[in-house]
């Protein structure tokens, strides 16, 4: 038994020494230090009409800028995979689910930032697994945003936006409605700001969530279960579904 104990201890110590040596080698390597192992790139694309971004854990930010080209900056473990075609589709993919990294620096600044020239786009589709997505009001015919656990933050949205998350929180400001709109959440909370001018009938359907409404004719605080809010006659339907997520609606002052 004593022999076994010694042998086991010897292997454990040897294993720990090897792992430490490997980690030290990665940390102190003379060229291409770990700081440079982070991919930091800025790319430019002209005549973009359609934008599709798919990431794993990287956050996505989309905003307008005054340049003529579409600027894409990405900081992450791996470079972005980009794909463009003649019809103006720009597809950006970043899959970090199989990357193995030690001592990753600048983890906080990781993300994909897309700056779009001010024009109307055919389609903008943003998908991430655990990365947060935030977007400025983008003028486009179809806007699709979906995450698994990442949070979504979007202001100035209208009925063309399709927003879906499984467990992330949604922060949304709706400025215009030209038709019915649907929002789908899971266990994350939804915070919604509705413009005063909107003629909307908001239906909140939940299994275990609570609803808080402020700034409307009928106000309530933490009311359990389904709720309906009517504003300016309720011309368009805004349907919100969650499983356990709570909803907070604020009427714009």
């Amino acid at each position: 038994m004593n022999k076994l104990k010694k042998l086991s201890l010897m292997f454990i110590i040897l294993g720990a020494v090897f792992i430490a040596a490997g980690a030290a080698l990665a940390y102190f390597r003379p060229f291409n230090s770990y700081n440079d192992a982070v991919s930091d790139e800025t790319l430019y694309f002209g005549s973009v009409r359609e934008l599709i971004v798919i990431t794993g854990s990287l956050p996505i930010t989309v905003e307008y800028w005054d340049g003529d080209d579409c600027e894409v900056s990405c900081i992450g473990d791996l470079p972005l995979i980009t794909d463009t075609d003649e019809s103006g589709v720009l597809r950006l993919t970043q899959d970090d689910s199989f990357s193995l990294s030690l001592f990753t620096a600048r983890r906080d600044s990781f993300g994909v930032t897309v700056k779009l020239p001010r024009r109307t786009y055919r389609r903008v589709s943003l998908t991430s697994s655990s990365g947060d997505i935030s977007a400025q009001p983008i003028s486009c015919e179809s806007l699709e945003i979906s995450t698994r656990s990442g949070n979504i933050s979007l202001f100035g949205a209208d009925d063309r936006a399709k927003i879906k998350t499984e467990s992330g929180n949604i922060e949304l400001g709706i400025s215009a409605l030209g038709g019915d709109m649907e929002l789908s959440g899971g266990s994350g909370d939804i915070s919604l700001t509705l413009s005063k001018r909107l003629s909307v009938c908001m239906e909140y359907m939940t299994e275990k969530g609570y609803c808080t409404a402020r700034g409307f004719a009928e106000e309530f605080e933490n009311r359990r279960g389904d709720a309906v809010i009517l504003q300016n006659g309720g011309e368009y339907l805004l349907k919100i579904t969650t499983v356990t997520g709570n909803l907070t609606v604020n009427g714009e002052q």
Binding site: L14, I19, G22, L25
Partner: protein, 110 residues
């Protein structure tokens, strides 16, 4: 007083044993996990370096090899250690079973 002390020891002893077994199980789980991870990582790192398969990592080759071999050795050492840790726990379980037996309790009650 004797009875209270007896039951006190019994309850705390049982809770301690349950904790010990949980630790034991975690140890075995970790040992087997590390060993199998090392078994996969070492050939994968070698095949990756040879260009047979593609592996995505920002670690240099030697660093990756050291970490993989280290994981294999650590897992192997822990698996060997399991032959010492687990029988000791089984022995303790046997002791606990004797303690919890009705005969012993009756003895104490009397």
């Amino acid at each position: 007083m004797k009875k209270i002390r007896y039951y006190g020891f019994l309850i705390f002893g049982a809770a301690g044993m349950a904790g010990l077994f949980l630790l034991n199980f975690l140890y075995l789980f970790l040992a087997l996990g590390l060993f199998s991870l090392g078994l996969i990582a070492v050939p994968a790192a070698l095949l990756g370096a040879a260009g047979v398969i593609h592996i995505t990592t920002d670690l240099p080759f030697f660093s990756l090899m050291f970490v993989s071999v280290g994981t294999l050795l650590l897992g192997f050492g822990m698996c060997l250690g399991a032959f010492i840790v687990c029988p000791a726990s089984v022995d303790r379980l046997r002791c606990l079973r004797v303690r919890l037996s009705w005969k012993k309790r009756r003895c104490c009650d009397e």
